[in-house]
Amino acid sequence: MNIAIVGGRVIDPARGLDTTTSLFVQDGVIAGLGEAPAGFMPGRTIDAQGLVVCPGLIDLRARLREPGLEHKGTVETETHAALAGGITQLCCPPDTNPVMDTPVAAQWLIDRAQSLGGARVRPIGALTRALSGTHLADMHALHRAGCVGVGNALVPIKDTAVLRHALEYAAGLGLLVFLTPEDPWMSPVGVIHEGRMATRLGLAGIPESAETIEIARALMLIEEARVRAHFCGISSARGAALIAEAKNRGLAVTADTPIHQLYVTEDDIGIFDTNYRLRPPARTAADRDALRAALAAGVIDALCSDHQPHEADAKERPFSDAEPGIAGLETLLPLTLRLVELNTLTLKDALAAVTSRPAALLGIPEGTLGTGRRADICIYNPQATWTPTTASVRTRGCNSPFYGTLMRGQVMVTIQGGRIAYERSEPR
């Protein structure tokens, strides 16, 4: 169907574009900006006055929970939750059950999301077989099956020699490697940042060095292997500083941080609030502020939801037994926009952090509204306020400290591959 999006504020960070105009979609691609292509007959006209029209969001890390943990979420529920959040593409870590370490598994996931009409899934293949940390996975086959890169999810590779070989092998194939900076010995023991709150609540701490040591170890190997590497979930000021230093040295590294990491601090845990059981942990206010600055400076390239949906029971446990993570697909956009209110970023840069910048580091052509590109578009109302609740969100995840709090910025329409994949039903 041909779609005309009329009179919206079109922002395309990749091209530095921010102007009120119309956008035309034809045959699944963006066919024109400002002026309709010759003979264009819209099957649908969207009045976008007062709305922002931007590229569909690209989420670098979202867990769908299928296969293996369908009680927490399925490809169907979570990819449609993504669309409701304006996300048209998402990267899915390989820690499914079974692990995403075969081309068949990767192909199944991509096809499943497509057949269900959800956001497009770009799996991250396993770096080592079954995430074992001992044998390399068939990276080439995974890549050919559609994996956007490889990684070992939250399972650290303890054996440095194995990690080194994995990086070398991936480098030879030109693959992007996703690394989670967690020291295999110190991280699993703790449940919150090692600081004031760990001391007060008697919870085992995760020291800052659990992150910085793993970044440092990985950087040395990345430099030798000359591999493209992406660090997932930087949580500390010192961690961001190490990334900055590596970039200055000219290493091909990028980094993201989950959007919630720019808001939460260890103090939010209060009296054992398991919604703040996170991985990486919420650290100090100084860390949070440093992460915001690192994002503004481009040291941190992109934001992601780090979506980890859980059933209610997974959080109704003693703190250290509660499962970590936030269900964040539907709050990614409004929390990103909040950075503009806080004067951390301009609107264009904020949107870049969830569109063009993740696209660039993944090396995919989307994340822009250029003519001829795949029509992945998010249309949102920048003024509308809403309150996410367990009942109102589409994700199956019951876990977010942002539920019950006011969000500004609401997705009205999500277009994916030229098709209206999500449309907010209530009249505005």
Partner: protein, 323 residues
């Protein structure tokens, strides 16, 4: 999030931590405990304050002293007591903690006394029970053991009087100690002149100074001029990794011997929340010596626990007593 434990001692619904209790609130509980000391010395050791109330001692972790003194405290208040001892590991699947509690609650329990190996377990239960049900924390992980904290305050007050003139040294495995945390909060609330923690750096919490104490790794400096020495048990069951080299080296550096005790004030008292590891953190002749108040601590535990149970579940009677 709503605080599960309101700070006002008059209207305590749960007793989960000594944090946020004011010095005045603590003193009131200790005063009530004083009045219960005599009950234990009578021929008929019972008062009817909790008659008809059902208390469940729900222990997910082994305990002798705490469970027994809670049981005696409840019985002396005429409550019906049921003991449930169940060992759980955090990874063991099966009935969830809250399901266990909900089942027991369906049997019309009025008050739960809970011990659990994980920090925050008592708070979790307190948030889930209906408003007429009370929860007392009998120890949750490394977080809090507030009745132990208060019975230690009771003991210190009986032997040493005014907290504002006291230097208290808490020695040993502070990192894993819920008792230490509860003592520290209570001691600072009561205006104690100086609270020190003493131990190997690997057994002190990362930023322990934020709790309002000074940290010492040198035993002599830590004990010098102390009025109260509280020895903590080495919590091997909670330790992971290489925290200390050996029991022998630990005793060499931090064991409380008579020579070391001499560094403290002459009339210093020696306390230990139990169970003691003789020859590991404390020498036998100190544990059994004239300055030791370790056994009176146990006796006092009954009166303090009676005071807390009565304040929670026997609200009308207890409130009638306080000014």
């Amino acid at each position: 999030m709503m605080a599960a434990q309101p700070g006002n001692a008059h209207r305590l619904r749960h007793f989960l931590t000594t944090e946020d209790l004011s010095g005045g609130a603590i003193s009131e509980i200790l005063d009530t405990a004083e009045s219960f000391i005599s009950v234990g010395e009578r021929e008929i050791k019972k008062v009817p304050l909790l008659r008809g109330k059902t208390i469940v001692n729900l222990f997910f972790e082994a305990s002798t002293r705490t469970r027994t003194t809670f049981e005696i405290a409840g019985k002396r208040l005429s409550a019906d007591i049921i003991n449930i001892n169940t060992s759980v590991s955090s990874t063991q699947k099966g009935e969830s903690l809250l399901d266990t509690v909900r089942n027991l609650e369906a049997m019309h329990t009025d008050l739960f006394v809970v011990r659990h190996p994980l920090s925050g377990a008592a708070d979790l239960i307190a948030r889930s029970v209906p408003s007429h049900v009370h929860v007392v924390n009998a120890g949750d992980g490394r977080h809090a053991h507030p009745t132990q904290g208060l019975l230690d305050m009771f003991t210190i007050r009986r032997y040493k009087g005014d907290f504002r003139r006291l230097t208290v040294a808490i020695v040993g495995d502070v990192l894993h100690s819920r008792v230490a945390r509860s003592q520290i909060h209570a001691l600072t609330a009561l205006g104690t002149k100086e609270v020190r923690v003493v131990g190997p750096r690997s057994l002190l919490p990362a930023v322990v100074e934020t709790l309002g104490v000074s940290a010492h790794t040198d035993m002599a400096a830590g004990l010098s001029g102390a009025d109260v020495i509280i020895m903590l048990r080495l919590q091997f069951e909670r330790m992971s990794g290489a925290l200390i080299p050996s029991a022998g080296e630990y005793f060499d550096l931090y064991g409380l011997t008579r020579e070391r005790l001499a560094l403290a004030n002459k009339d210093a008292i020696v306390m230990h929340p139990g169970p003691m590891n003789r020859g590991l953190e404390i020498a036998s002749d100190v544990a059994d010596g004239p300055q030791s108040v370790i056994l009176p601590q146990v006796t006092n535990g009954i009166a303090v626990r009676m005071a807390i149970l009565a304040r929670l579940a026997g609200a009308s009677a207890a409130e009638g007593r306080t000014p």
